[in-house]
């Protein structure tokens, strides 16, 4: 079951309370926070760093970091799931930096670790980034705004955002010049921003009328 986009805000209150209690050293609250959020964060990390052992290390670092930094979470400024997801994405992207220094060849034969087998299957059947963006479009405002993007804009943002690809990697995958891809991504983000801002304004004026 994927987290339905509308749940994103609904879960805020509960997660904020758990984070606030974790901030004053409440281990039970922190354990509940982990139960509630780690499947989502693990999915986010795995999508970017597909090496399962490394993804587990990243997730571990994320939660140790959250435990130490929980007091800096400000519920008035951020939604808890947004805050947690951002931390996880940052760590995952950083782990790619280190990984690139190593050979990126996958072992030809399955290791003796069962989880690797399971994951290798999963990786092949996982929806592509563009399909994911289409599903994300179920969220009301995002749905509307995704339609404002051109096909190449949408695909380049999806590859960069979901899979953590660099501009150069997106360019290689899409067989397009680097400069073209850079301007697609930049333009797509700007279109999303102004469209989401208009969507908020529209919501507010709809409530007033």
């Amino acid at each position: 079951m994927a987290t339905a986009p509308q749940d994103w805000s609904d879960r805020s209150r509960e997660l904020s309370a758990l984070l606030a209690r974790a901030a004053i050293g409440d281990r039970e609250a922190f354990a509940r926070l982990y139960d509630r959020t780690s499947p989502h964060l693990f999915a986010v990390v795995l999508r970017i760093n597909r090496d399962r052992a490394q993804a587990e290390d990243v997730l571990q670092e994320v939660y140790v970091n959250v435990w130490r930094a929980a007091q800096s979470f400000d519920a008035a400024q951020s939604q808890p799931l947004t805050w947690l997801t951002s931390i996880a994405r940052n760590r995952a992207i950083d782990s790619l930096r280190r990984k690139h220094a190593e050979p990126s060849v996958r072992p030809a034969a399955p290791t003796d670790d069962e989880e690797h087998d399971v994951y290798d299957d999963l990786a092949d059947t996982a929806p592509g980034p563009l399909a994911l963006l289409g599903q994300a479009s179920d969220a009301r405002a995002l749905s509307h705004c995704m339609e404002a993007l051109s096909g190449p804009q949408r695909q380049s943002v999806a590859l960069a955002f979901y899979d953590g690809l660099t501009h150069a990697e997106v360019a290689a995958q899409m067989r397009q010049p680097l400069g073209t891809v850079k301007s697609w991504v930049r333009r797509a983000l700007q279109v999303l921003k102004s469209c989401l801002e208009t969507a908020v304004v529209r919501d507010v004026s709809a409530e007033k009328s």
Binding site: P5, A31, Y34, W67, S78, T82, I93, A136
Partner: protein
């Protein structure tokens, strides 16, 4: 580059949140976040816009071993287990500052009994950072008067206020009132609770916490 230019700040924040800002540029951007509130709020806005996209990923429960490793990591953090206000490192090494603070507060506090000096507490940045800002608080020996003073003025948004809390060794924090971010505040409302183990300053909406418990981040903390 001039990071105070709003369009540039917004573009970098977008690429940071989207993940396309990489390598040295990403690290440089991260190192600037601490000092640039405008960059931080641009990043927050972009994270708010983009993170819901991850809502469609199929959740993948991590293996139990991950939680066990996390527990053993944070289990070693004994100070945290005793409550974040008990972290000695926060105020260790601040003795010199406390001496200065005693002199500074001497003029503010009417000592009820000459033989019993006021208790002076140095409240340092709660995140353990080497932030230059801190608060000093003095509590008169009978606990009836309390004075706080920022060592350096704290910059606040217009709709925010600082609230002072008494933290008992066990139980919930108790509000001691709102304090000024840039000047001394004298609180005489009542007695500071006898079981106060530490003082903390949290960031709250104007008028103070609506819930009676700290709602914003704890900015400063100091043990008695």
């Amino acid at each position: 580059m001039d990071y105070s230019r709003p369009e540039l700040a917004d573009r970098l924040a977008a690429e940071y949140a989207a993940g396309t800002l990489r390598g040295g540029a990403r690290r440089r951007f991260e190192s600037l976040l601490g000092a640039h509130p405008a960059l931080r709020s641009a990043v927050r806005a972009w994270q708010h816009r983009l993170m819901p996209l991850t809502g469609v990923l199929v959740p993948e429960p991590p293996p139990p071993a991950v939680w066990q490793r996390i527990q053993s990591r944070i289990g070693g953090d004994v100070a945290k287990a005793a409550g974040w206000w008990a972290r000695l490192s926060v105020w260790r090494g601040l003795t010199a500052a406390a001496t200065v603070a005693t002199l500074a507060l001497g003029v503010l506090l009417a000592l009820p009994e000459a033989a019993r000096p006021p208790v002076v507490v140095v409240l340092a940045a709660a995140d353990g950072s080497a932030s230059p800002s801190s608060f000093v608080a003095g509590i008169s020996a009978d606990g009836r008067a309390l004075v706080t003073r920022p060592v350096t003025p704290v910059a606040l948004q217009a709709d925010r206020a600082l609230e002072l809390w008494s933290l008992p060794a066990k139980g919930a924090p108790k509000s001691l009132g709102l304090i000024s971010a840039d000047a001394a505040t004298v609180l005489r409302k009542g007695k500071v609770p006898d079981d106060t183990a530490a003082l903390a300053v949290s960031l709250e909406p104007t008028g103070g916490s609506p819930t009676g418990a700290p709602t914003g981040p704890v900015l400063f903390v100091g043990k008695l």
